[in-house]
């Protein structure tokens, strides 16, 4: 057996963290080095047929982590996907109280 190496730290992040622009800082690498796993929100280009159910699946997973006392943090963002997630999580009776600062890992120039 390998022992349990799960960090129990989960960051909910917008798509730009998973798929950064070429000139953008590597926030995913910084999260990995700090031991965080990520739950990536759907990208803005999700088709309507996928969007709602995609978000529903994400909310169910985050609720599971929250209810089992995993540390869950939210990347800051005023993008529509993050706002939709916050609203859907609230509708499920949960919230993520920890929100990263604008550059929590010092990767922005």
């Amino acid at each position: 057996m390998r022992g349990d190496v799960r960090s129990r730290r989960v960051a909910v992040v917008p798509d730009r963290v998973l798929n950064p622009l070429p000139s953008a800082p590597d926030e995913l690498g910084a999260l990995e080095r700090a031991g965080w796993g990520i739950v990536a929100l759907g990208s803005p280009d999700l088709v309507p047929a996928a969007r709602e159910a995609w978000l529903e699946g994400i909310v169910e997973q985050v609720v599971t982590f929250l209810d089992d006392d995993y540390e869950v943090a939210l990347a800051p963002g005023d993008d529509a996907e993050t706002q939709e997630f916050v609203r859907a999580l609230a509708a499920a009776g949960r919230s993520v109280t920890r929100v990263f600062g604008s550059d929590p890992f010092g990767v922005r120039p």
């Binding site: 965080w36 796993g37 739950v39 996928a50």
Partner: protein, 184 residues
């Protein structure tokens, strides 16, 4: 477009003692990024159904109408988005987890007598057999008739003899520079 098994970006979704990293499997992600892939994270079918404290199960333990309905609910938006990506002219690859009872692609965990109290050590005894996991199987059904256009490959993170370099080489071979793999 690369659709990744959830745990490749979040090992916290793995079963107890099943994770191979604290969080992100960065070598896999880095390889795919280098190849020009846009990444999408699929849901973990086991996490929200059985929780974070579940033990390592086999297909037969998950093969219930309720779990198959759960997989169908999760796989439906993935299949819809894959079809949209294909229609937009993208090449699509799905990266699962070989050895997983749910996310396996070529290898899954299956046994008629596995169950009950988990008194066997996972690595040596986990009963891996050829075939897909239940979520992968469901996704394949939902993709029909577009299935032949999608490459589906498994990373063997749930195998006893997991060799990261070997698995990365396999992935690199399937995904040439410049984007997701040709179907096959």
């Amino acid at each position: 477009m690369c659709y990744l098994a959830h745990c490749l970006l979040n090992a916290n979704s793995k079963v107890d003692e099943g994770a191979r990293s604290p969080g992100v499997s960065l070598p896999v992600v880095s390889l795919l990024r280098e190849r020009g892939c846009t990444l999408r994270q699929m849901p973990c079918p086991e996490l929200a159904f059985a929780g974070t404290r579940r033990f390592w199960a086999v297909r037969e333990q998950y093969d219930t109408p309720a779990f198959r309905a759960h997989c169908r609910k999760l796989a439906a938006p993935v299949a819809a988005q894959i079809r949209a990506d294909l229609a937009a002219g993208h090449r699509v690859v799905v990266v699962g987890i070989d050895g997983s009872p749910t996310m396996g692609v070529e290898l899954t965990a299956a046994s008629d007598d596995w169950g009950g109290r988990p008194d066997k050590l996972r690595d040596e005894d986990y009963p891996v057999t050829p075939g897909p996991g239940i979520f992968t199987e469901t996704l394949i059904e939902l993709l029909d008739p577009a299935r032949p256009q999608v490459r589906i490959v498994g990373i063997g993170q749930d195998l006893f003899d997991y060799d990261e370099q070997r698995e990365l080489a396999k992935l690199a071979q399937l995904i040439p520079d410049g984007g997701a793999a040709d179907a096959g």
